[in-house]
Symmetry: C2
Subunit: 219 residues, 2 copies
Amino acid sequence: MITTSFTEENYLKAIFHLSPQEAEAVSTNAIAEALQTKAASVTDMLKKLADKNLINYVKYQGVTLTHNGRQAAIGIIRKHRLWEVFLVDKLNFKWDEVHELAEDLEHINSAKLIDSLEAFLGFPKVDPHGDPIPDKNGVLKEPILVPVSKMNINQTGIISGVKEHSTLFLNYLEKTGLVLGKRVKVQDLIEFDGSVIIALDKQVLTISRDVAKNILIAV
Amino acid sequence: MITTSFTEENYLKAIFHLSPQEAEAVSTNAIAEALQTKAASVTDMLKKLADKNLINYVKYQGVTLTHNGRQAAIGIIRKHRLWEVFLVDKLNFKWDEVHELAEDLEHINSAKLIDSLEAFLGFPKVDPHGDPIPDKNGVLKEPILVPVSKMNINQTGIISGVKEHSTLFLNYLEKTGLVLGKRVKVQDLIEFDGSVIIALDKQVLTISRDVAKNILIAV
DNA sequence: TTTATTTTTTAGGCTAACCTAAAAAAATTA
DNA sequence: TAATTTTTTTAGGTTAGCCTAAAAAATAAA
């Protein structure tokens, strides 16, 4: 088993999130931006991760995760999302309060702990933001979700995730009643500014293009 | 609020455990031994902790915790013991499996998390080894427990704690049925080697002096 | 009370993860 | 294609926490 430090794990996770399907190589600057650090520091770490066979790194060409690196990243994401479920379901945290704490908890290293936690939580499929939880073998099923902005008039679906995780955004959704599990129907699309008029429960409301892009629907 | 690193917290906790009542100053070597590190490293850290007003440090004279240092240590112990209860009560860990994991979890820093956890667990008074859990104000009530080795013939009491926390010892207790909450009665004391003959449930068994010294009884 | 031993501290070095400033490579624009 | 801009890397330095070896202080023994 390769051991990874707290910091190395954060790099792996960042690389994963920046290119979940390995569609393209991730740039040094993008990682620096994601981790709020400097490009020079990223270069240092990329060399180390490459030595450990966790990433494929070619100077000036960006990086992709190796199989090992990807599995490590998925393992951390599994822990992050299970802890989020625990905080919301068992400790009554709100969905916008759990991210930072889960960022710490995800680095606690014990397969037995995390597998027991999963069982205790009843093997949840998704975290409080609708993101899927990888299973203990590292298999991550990305559900096919479309943003509200891509839906057609009269189409309906269940709110199943969000693309943006900021407290500001989640608070807005909460206040508006746009929470996970709700059924929405698109009533009209305003071409002028991209805003969308939707039916939610018995009410009708208008959301901006920015909001519509960040609410994900299972259709 | 003073922020403390992972390592600083471990030093504070070690100092606390080495002199819980501040009866006497703790020596550099004792800390090195407890933390499996070298005396020179301890000296480095003691200077830092003294600068932060967490310990009273006089060169060559050992250390005691300041009020702040003691409160910090108690806060970490509170977290450690609540996590142990969680692992045993909710995730079905055995009492001898939880210590190392709690050593990591105790450094997660969130008052809201730990207070919610405490409520979720039903405000337990003691951890799975019978050690008392400090309250959220940092008040730690040490119960008066006596080792079996100090009991008199015919005296009875409830097993309420252990002095030794090693897996080897806890496993032995488990196997023998000497677990928390059991009532025991001292039937005889063997002066020759200090072993003790006790009644437990309907059986009678003999325990060595070493074992008798490490089982704590509320009388 | 001098000598020997033990304990503790200082001095100087190491590694991980960060930084700034400068150099080199790649990408873009003219 | 040449010149400019952007991105990335290298070079050299910092801090936290650790180390070994040597010096200094405290304690114990002769």
